[in-house]
Amino acid sequence: MPTLIQMELSRRELLASSATTVAVAGVAKEVRAAGARGKELQNTTEVTFKVNGDPQRLTLDNRTTLLDALREHLHLTGTKKGCDHGQCGACTVIVDGRRINSCLSLAVMHDGNKITTIEGLGQPGNLHPMQAAFIKHDGFQCGYCTPGQICSSVAVLEEITANIPSHVTENLMQQATVTAEEIRERMSGNICRCGAYSNILDAIHEVAGVPA
């Protein structure tokens, strides 16, 4: 049951508090307490991280997601906002080697992290092997979900190499392998409405060096 205080808490009050408090504690009473401290109330926080190898220092509204920090503040618009709810995967980036939905993560939580976006994976004339494989296998049409698909694909192969099991991994005692079922499962967080899934599957298989 929600408490009376939670019911009364307004959006403004919530937003006026520190996002880190919300993220860590997530408890309305503490939020209100933070607001009541008056002078300590901070709407913005300085954060430093590396994006595609370049150090960045930003002072951000606490509620800014990593996705918005990349798109609106660093103008790295390759990472896309498809749903802003972590349900479509278009915003996938690689943080310290792991793929995350950048829309579900506040920028201030990434102080000191190394972030790789689609712009950092490869450039025209110097494509990442996954980007080249997407061209060869026609792994996309409109291109909107593609940056997320590629970041996800790159990280998926690293997850398999690191022997991180998935929902469909049958034998947890053995090294995870690249199979169609594994790839489909691991890529199921990235929606492609153009329906290029089977070509994306072929592209990932090629980079993994395993026939589809």
């Binding site: 994976l121 409405r193 153009c194 329906g195 070509n199």
Partner: protein, 782 residues
């Protein structure tokens, strides 16, 4: 075919920018001084607006302006329109109610826009939108079309008594009734074609920029047809005259129909930019997209199909009720009429057809064309009925179809269409061979030993693409012509720009259109740029929908190219002192046939622009335009076969194989065509297995407004597909193209449902065939 010409699977020219994050979509655009918009939307499905108080919101931090519908009306901004007039069978015009860009007296669906807030940041605009106080007098709502027609239901528009928009018919009712009365067998079925949300991954967005110095507007928008947007916004919505309005649709992240229409947001953001004096950007969030993007399908139909003693179809009678939502969207009236009922003959020779269609207002978001638009509804209806009839008659579904195929062309159906070419038997045979149809019984028995229910189903579809000719569609009520335009501009150094009115939002036009030029002139495709999506750069166009860009858009390029070649040949003949009729264009050169005399393409282009030595009286330059108005629709067709295995314990359906055998006419780029078919089938499987828009019938709230509630097809839901082509060239356009963009979405749902109902032995199954529904159907059958 050369390595880059027609028929080659050339890797796409647009690939590199999409793959490296360099694509430029509307939400990626920033201009100096740009501010952010957030719309205040109705939380109620139906309500009177008693008052709107913007005072608190206007005083919020960062707020530049809060604007509402009364101001918009005072400034003379017009109502949104439906551009296709349909008359009821009693001769009366359709009952179109007013659609204001911002509602100011009544809201009619959850998400109806009420006010716009413009602020320094999106966060501030959202905050201020929460402070806009709208006092609603909530009214009862109705969301289902059949119910909305009943007596005593909420009345949504004063113009439409009993919520009926029109009551339309096509075909010969008397002859059809006679066929049914005299039939040896009549198959009856009731079908619901489920309601879908198009869901391009790029949400709609728009950036309105008013330039007070020039009294000029620029609109960046996620559109499939920027010229139509400009035309409608100037001619009907009074935003600005065409010469003062530039519409740019840059990279667009998928449309599937939903980005054809001009929505309130484009109009309001342009107007708000003038009112506030700043550029205004709005980007839909995903829930807003579910709430406000035009939905697709939502038909309820009853069908009677009559057979003689030899199992030939003698008549087809259809009654359809189509939900058009709270307002009539731009092409909404055409979808359940001329894009639907005219295809009810399918691939079959049916002597008598009659269809009655009633369209209905409900308190839901407008419904309009979504990938296939009318044709999936017709195909689902016919192919579910054929399959049901085959089961009732005790003959194989393939045999029943074969017996009724149209086999000579041209073929005039009883419902307007004149099919020009096709070979339906060839697709059927190819699909059955690929699917190993004859080996199915053994596979079914093997599955049964494992406790699984295996089923197989087919669907033979036909569609009509490249809607035209303009005079014909005009006589049927279309408000626009359906031609396409192109300009081929040869630069002085021989590089080429092609301006096309078609718009690419995933179709790869920048490659396929360039392949056409490369094929004809023998120049590398890298020397050809395809320019589209900007009303300042491209003269005019009707855009991309209905699988028309190849058949209609490229045909316009062919016409312009014919003129360019003719002029280039004249210049070359003059320079080489040869006869014009002896000049041939090959491998990037203009040659005198039978001699070794030749001029490179660039040299002829340069001669056209230096104009030092041109034939007497010839104008300088090498640039030609053309408009192409097709003489007929095109008729892609094919056969799809789906084989499934259903787990009777859980009701879960696994697709074992999916076979598509298509006739698309001539193909420019097989790789791109394959991608289009994959995508269409993915959306068709989505409709049949997963997707469903659900409104709460009590209060009109949209229950499925996120990807947690609306099941999109994902990588683990779909198999790989087995594709083949049995192409018969289209005789009615110069390239012989039929179109391929929608076929997959049209042909696949009935194949899948026919397979599942075959597996479970219960024909009563509605889309989407969720595990719960399939499990219930299995247990009802037992």
């Amino acid at each position: 075919m050369g390595v880059e010409g027609i028929g080659a699977s050339v890797a796409r020219k647009e690939d590199k920018r999409f793959l490296t994050g360099k694509g430029r979509y509307t939400d990626d655009m920033s201009v100096p001084g740009m501010k952010y918009a957030f719309f205040v939307r109705s939380p109620h499905a139906h309500a009177k607006i008693k008052s709107i108080d913007i005072s608190a919101a206007s005083a919020m931090p960062g707020v530049i302006g809060v604007l509402e519908g009364k101001q918009l009306q005072a400034d003379g901004i017009g109502n949104l329109i439906c551009g296709w007039m349909i008359h009821s069978k009693d001769g009366s015009p359709m009952n179109m109610g007013a659609w204001r860009p911002l509602a100011h007296d009544t809201v009619r669906y959850v998400g109806d826009g009420v006010a716009i807030v413009v602020a320094d940041s999106l966060g501030e605009a959202r905050d201020a939108a929460e402070a806009v106080v709208v006092d609603y007098d909530v009214l009862p709502a109705v969301t289902e079309a059949v119910k909305a027609l009943e007596a005593g239901q909420p009345q949504i528009h004063p113009e439409a008594a009993n919520n009926l928009i029109f009551d339309w018919q096509i075909g010969d009712g008397g002859a059809t009734d006679k066929a049914i009365a005299e039939a040896a067998h009549v198959t009856e079925i009731k079908l619901h074609n489920n309601r879908l949300a198009p869901n391009p991954m790029e949400p709609r967005a728009t950036l309105g920029i008013y330039d007070s110095a020039e009294d000029h507007y620029t609109c960046y928008t996620t559109s499939q047809n920027p010229h139509v947007a400009r035309l409608v916004m100037s001619a009907f919505y009074n935003v600005a005259p065409e010469n003062k309005l530039r519409v740019i649709a840059p990279d667009v992240g998928g449309g599937f129909g939903s980005k054809i229409y001009i929505y309130p947001e484009e109009i309001v953001c342009l107007w708000a930019s003038k009112k506030t004096g700043v550029p205004v950007k709005w980007t839909s969030d995903r829930t807003e997209a579910f709430l406000t993007d035009a939905h697709g399908r939502d038909h309820v139909s009853t069908v009677k199909m009559a057979f003689d003693k030899d199992n030939r179809v003698t008549g087809l009678k259809v009654d359809t009720i189509a939900n058009l939502g709270a307002y009539m969207s731009l092409f909404s009236s055409a979808v359940p009429t001329y894009l639907y009922a005219t295809l009810l003959s399918g691939q079959y020779a049916i002597p008598a057809i009659h269809a009655n269609v009633r369209t209905v207002y409900t308190n839901t978001v407008p419904v309009d064309a979504y990938r296939g638009a009318g044709r999936p509804e017709a195909t689902y209806l016919l192919e579910r009925t054929m399959e049901t009839a085959a089961r009732e008659l005790g003959i194989s579904p393939a045999e029943l179809r074969r017996k009724n195929f149209i086999r000579s062309f041209p073929h005039q159906t009883p419902v307007i269409m004149n099919y020009d070419a096709g070979d339906y038997e060839a697709s059927l045979e190819a699909a059955m061979a690929t699917a190993d149809w004859n080996g199915f019984a053994a596979r079914k028995a093997e599955a049964a030993r494992r406790g699984m229910k295996r089923g197989i189903g087919m669907s033979c579809y036909i569609e009509a693409c490249g809607i035209a000719p303009s005079a014909a569609v005009g006589s049927l009520g279309a408000g626009v012509g359906l031609w396409e335009s192109a300009e081929v501009r040869v630069n002085a150094v021989g590089t080429i720009e092609v301006m096309t009115g078609s718009h690419s939002h995933g179709q790869g036009h920048e490659t396929t259109f360039a392949q056409l030029i490369a094929d004809r002139l023998g120049v590398p495709i890298d020397s050809v740029n395809i320019v589209h999506g900007d009303t300042d750069k491209v003269q005019m166009g009707m855009g991309t929908y209905g699988s028309r860009s190849g058949a209609v858009g490229m045909s316009a390029v062919v016409k312009a190219l014919d003129k360019v070649e003719a002029k280039a040949k004249k210049i070359a003949a003059h320079l080489m002192e040869a006869d014009e009729s002896d000049i041939v264009i090959e491998n990037g050169e203009l040659k005198v046939a039978g001699t070794d005399k030749a001029l490179p393409w660039f040299q002829v282009a340069l001669a056209a622009y230096t104009a030092h030595n041109l034939p007497a009286g010839m104008e300088p330059g090498l640039k030609e335009g053309a408009f192409y108005d097709p003489s007929n629709f095109t008729f892609p067709a094919g056969c799809y076969i789906c084989e499934v295995e259903v787990d009777p314990e859980t009701g879960t359906t696994e697709i074992i194989q999916f076979v598509a055998a298509d006739d698309f006419g001539n193909i420019i780029n097989p790789m791109i065509v394959e991608g289009q078919v994959h995508g269409g089938i993915a959306q068709g499987i989505g409709q049949a297995l997963l997707e469903n828009v659900h409104y709460d019938p009590q209060n009109g709230q949209l229950i499925t407004a996120s990807y947690m509630d609306y099941a999109m097809p994902r990588a683990d839901n779909l198999p790989s597909f087995k594709l083949s082509h049995q192409n018969t060239p289209c005789p009615s356009n110069p390239l012989g193209i039929k179109g391929c963009g929608e076929a997959g979405a049209i042909g696949s749902p009935p194949a899948l449902i026919n397979a599942i109902t075959d597996a479970i032995g219960n024909n009563s199954l509605t889309m989407p065939a969720t595990p719960q529904k399939v499990w219930s159907a299995i247990n009802a059958a037992n």
